[in-house]
Symmetry: C2
Subunit: 679 residues, 2 copies
């Protein structure tokens, strides 16, 4: 029996036997090897380029390849004549046919075709399977004998040429269809969205003639910062990224102040917050589009993540219910909507997908981080922590995953710290304290040296030393403990005043002077600052410990620190302070903006949307406020580092943490507004 020749695709290694004359594109598709093609094999889009390999591939069971592909075709000649030559060795897989045993490489090349992208930050592969497919078709001209509408004939063509038997049509196509078909002289590229909530592919945009590129945005709406990536949906390449402060800050620094604002301004408060975030997102779309020289009209898909309050405000939902128990989400499942419904300025047909929220304080951002880091697929016990005003904590392995949020408050971000400030030039970001002399060394954002190195004074001459940002706060707290300035229970030791004038104690207050200069303010760490950090870290640790209890473990195997907090703090100091449970330091990793990465994954591959929806359904949600053990853990965790047993002295004078709600927040004394962490 004659056996058809073997064709192997790299890098996937997928293989099969194909009859002589089979187009390589068809062979790839039949094996599930993703090769883009917009023009449906007409040889005009150039998206289906592949590289037949020359040489011996014994490991693939192919002795010799290279001449086993068909000759250069007229279609390829026409393409290169019009569009310029292909890269050396490249062929259009819609034209090149199998002529014998073959090894074909699918090039990871941004210019035309890319199966995976590599993100410098985390070396992550995102396999592409975007929601948008561009389909070039030739449409029959109108015929008075068969008076089907123009749209109806386009649908016929999409069924005939691309197999869409069940296509829905977005409303806004109707007025466009006639001019577009005529401008394209009865050829048109249809953008079809294959991830509609209805499960029906939907025609969302039409372009005259061949349209060879489509883009999508992935956006993480943080309470402090909104970050956006613009990616090509055809190549997977991120072509621009940008970020900006969340303008809702003017209505309230942190989440609960914004909920308060909504509650106290029933006549339009929510609307103002929603409008502010929509405007910011629209501005960012403008920025990334300008940076990449892409038209807003070509942005055809969008994925958003954010914590529950950002999520609700973005969707125009009043977040008041999230401000107090039982912290009821209006919607927890994934949300699909039209960009125009929420006043976003992209193509009129663009769909918006928002990842599901895990719980009332564990949002779509935590879901996205979970998608990116997959603690739920780990062999060992994996801890994923994203710290903001609340810490969102996911702990799991492939057997079981639990999640909770813990009310850390904004101390880690520099708020509630007397000299705290946002990360900006002039802010102290690193601290070392000599245990003997108690003399500090610092590094300041904007200066490339330590304060005891020559030239430091000149380096900070312009900015001055203005305050201390989040990573500096963590370091100074840890260094003060390591130098014996603070005790295990977080008290600044008055006795140390004898060693250094930097330690001040008058019987009522204690502090440590981290920095002083003639030109700027003294940077002082007060006893209250230490208390604020103690409370924050105790809340974080107690949340983690609670989840460890639920999992029945007393150690974790890996720790992933997500977000700005995770990016800028030194894991060593996080361990010293007991922010996180003990773990081998090499297994503690900053994973950057994991929420943003998850959003990008969901943008580029709709399978990831189903994956995270399923994952979120399976995650067990733990509400710390309902768990008596949380309070015990919290008290224990006040110590530096954490104690196993309650710490007697503290147990008496510590107020147990409750959710910060708009009520208790606004009922209490005005809270200090500190700086914010850079992101």
């Amino acid at each position: 029996m004659q056996v058809n020749p073997l064709v192997v695709f790299t890098p996937s290694g997928k293989r099969g036997h194909f009859a002589i004359g089979t187009p390589v594109l068809e062979a790839a598709r039949s094996l599930g090897v993703y090769v883009e093609s917009v023009c449906g094999g007409r040889g005009i889009c150039g998206r289906c380029q592949v590289e037949p390999m020359v040489g011996s591939f014994a490991k693939h069971g192919i002795e010799s390849a290279g001449d086993s592909v068909s000759d250069w075709s007229p279609k390829e000649a026409r393409y290169t004549e019009k569009r310029g030559p292909l890269a050396e060795g490249r062929r259009l897989s819609c034209s090149a046919t199998v002529q014998g045993p073959l090894v074909v490489d699918i090039p990871a090349d941004a210019a035309v075709n890319q199966q995976t992208i590599r993100k410098a930050a985390d070396q992550r592969d995102i396999h592409r399977n975007p929601a948008i497919q561009l389909c070039y078709v030739e449409v029959e001209e109108p015929d008075m004998h068969k008076p089907l509408g123009d749209l109806d004939r386009l649908k016929e063509a999409l069924e005939r040429e691309w197999g869409y038997t069940d296509l829905l049509v977005a409303q806004q196509i109707l007025p466009q269809i006639q001019p577009v078909l005529r401008k394209g002289e009865w050829t048109v590229t249809a953008a079809i969205h294959k991830d509609m909530e209805s499960s029906r592919p939907t025609l969302i945009a039409v372009y005259p003639g061949l349209k060879n590129e489509a883009y999508g945005i992935a956006c993480d709406i943080g309470s402090t910062t909104i970050a956006m990536h613009l990616s090509s949906l055809l190549s997977g390449v991120t072509v621009a990224s940008s970020g900006m402060s969340n303008p809702q800050i003017r209505f309230g620094e942190d989440l609960m102040s914004r909920v308060s604002y909504v509650m106290m301004n029933p006549d339009g408060g929510r609307e103002r917050l929603t409008k502010a975030v929509h405007e910011a997102v629209n501005e960012l779309i403008g920025q990334v589009c300008a940076e990449a020289d892409v038209s807003r009209q070509d942005v055809l898909d969008a994925v958003f993540v954010g914590n529950p309050i950002m999520h609700h405000l973005f969707l125009g939902i009043d977040p008041t219910e999230l401000g107090g128990a039982p912290f009821a989400l209006a919607v927890s499942g994934a949300v699909h909507t039209w960009a125009t419904e929420i006043d976003l300025s992209m193509n009129e047909g663009t769909r918006v997908y928002m990842l599901p929220c895990i719980a009332g304080h564990v949002g779509a951002d935590a879901a996205a981080a979970t998608l990116a880091e997959r603690p739920n697929e780990a062999e060992g016990m994996a801890l994923l922590v994203d710290v903001g005003t609340n810490a969102e904590i996911v702990l799991g392995n492939k057997a079981r995953t639990v999640a909770a949020s813990s009310p850390t408050g904004p101390a880690f971000e520099g708020a509630e710290i007397s000299c705290g400030q946002r990360a900006a030039p002039g802010a102290i970001e690193r601290v070392r304290i000599d245990p003997q002399t108690l003399e500090p060394r610092i590094r300041v954002i904007g200066a490339e040296m330590w304060s005891d190195e020559p030239g430091f004074a000149e380096a900070v001459a312009e900015t001055g030393v203005t305050g201390i940002c989040g990573s500096g706060i963590i370091e100074v707290m840890a260094e003060m403990f390591l130098a014996g300035i603070t005790s295990e229970d977080g008290v600044i030791e008055a006795a140390k005043a004898a060693i250094s004038e930097r330690v001040f104690a008058d019987g009522r207050t204690q502090s440590y002077q981290l920095w002083s200069s003639d030109t700027g303010p003294d940077i002082i760490i007060t006893q209250n600052d230490v208390r604020a950090i103690q409370l924050a870290k105790a809340a974080l640790y107690a949340g983690v410990k609670l989840l460890m209890d639920k999992q029945g473990v007393d150690k974790v195997d890996t720790i992933q620190l997500a977000g700005a907090f995770g990016t800028f703090i030194d894991p060593k100091y996080a361990l010293v302070l007991g922010l996180v449970p003990d773990c081998r330091i090499e297994d503690v990793k900053a994973v950057g903006n994991a929420a943003g990465t998850g959003a990008r994954m969901a943008l580029l591959n709709r399978d990831h949307r189903r994956e995270i929806e399923e994952t979120v359904r399976k995650i067990e949600k733990i509400e710390t406020a309902l768990e008596p053990d949380f309070q015990t853990h919290f008290v224990n965790a006040m110590a530096f580092p954490n104690k196993v047993d309650p710490f007697p002295r503290l147990a008496e004078d510590v107020t147990l943490p409750a959710r910060i709600t708009p009520e208790n927040q606004t009922a209490g004394a005005p809270r200090r507004r500190g700086g914010r962490r850079r992101t």
Copy 2:
């Protein structure tokens, strides 16, 4: 073997055996007998009332019934205590159970439950199966241990209690869900739309607590008049109807002038026409809602029909392509959209359904008329004619249906007639001419007598006799022919001037004076008026004849005249003039606003939507402009009545009709703007 008791439902006669204790509602549903229930059997909505019959029902095989139903239940007692007594003999079918052989009548009662409605106009039964279902549910309160969103818990309840496993949610629900659930204290009535294009049931509105009524509108957008019905979707009763002039008239009297307006005003012309019709529709919604004391918010479904140009403008589509060959529709299939997408002011979640168009000149109005009159299901050859600026003609039987439009122009509506006017008090609507004396008798809108009856002068003293409207024009043309004033070829006979001074002939022009008075204008029928009617009727007849050729018949069995034209003209005169082919006069019927009836059918029963979509796919579309025989038929049909062979004298001086297009319309001399028919 024990046989369960027989239960028979009237009026359907559906029957089955059911175990003792089966709720009657459940028995009905299992047989496919439609009984409404909003509350899901809780005994609070009262929608499921039935009437167990007392007596002997030998024909149903039941000797004695009446005591075979369970006793008055606490649920029923509670209902009547709160909501007042049920009508004599009525039971709540969710409470009453089968206790023996039973005959149960499903009352056709507007107040609570009605399976069919009777429309006075045509005695038509519309079986109900509306797209909207109201579902009352009790929703679990939020639980911190199981942090599903409020919406997600509502979806759980709808799945549990109503079996909706696959529910989609309209975007605008998201901000409403939390306040509505809390206002209803965790009970809510969900409005579910079951006729989405996606085939997925969709939650489109939520109401706190029990919501026991929902409405829909059916609207026929005519180029002259917009007519609207407001119907209860739960009982099927039409609770209000209204109509108004189409305000697009100020941009152009007839369809082609409006297309011209769009073409000549590329910067906003189309937008102005679209806005005008949307505003009118919104005003009508306000009128019908006010008349029936219904909130706009309770209008949850809407069906629109209209000719292709009205259809396109209503949807915001430029109709220019419809202004010239090949008369390409932007979309021919049925259109589903959101009311908010086209700026209609109803509930935010209301869907709009537009029936399919048959062809470029045979619109959704003709489709609706076809749905109402069903020529496609006739045993004999059935002709359905709707005359406007174009005549839309459907000819068929259950084997085959063909459709065409014919360019009659607006003469039948009184335009292009020298003394033509819209139907209003003072307009001549009926005419008789004495064949001996050639003296006319007339009737005038607003006067209850003929002009030769005593008191006529007083009766018209206020209005005067101001012109002649469409039905009067048909009658005067026919009577002039019958009296010999006009010849078979439509020439006013100069010789008749010798008999009556009313006939005027000076060798160049001829006319007939229908009315003269001291107080008002003379009403004169000119030779040109006769020509205009000849052209219009020839076009109509030629279109019909062409379809008869396609069907291979030389006679039709029934004729249905739809629309205002059909309603007001006397079928006898239509036959005398040869507007329609010969037919027994008793088989010629005016069917009123068949398009409006079809729209109402599609509103009240979504099965009718599938039916007409399928019917339209099957109808063979004939483009008269492409058929050489059309011109022959046209020339033949210029005669009174129609000739079988070409009419030699006319064949020379008659311009064959072409589609009136914006080009040929505006290129020619300004057309006279005449009156409009009343509707």
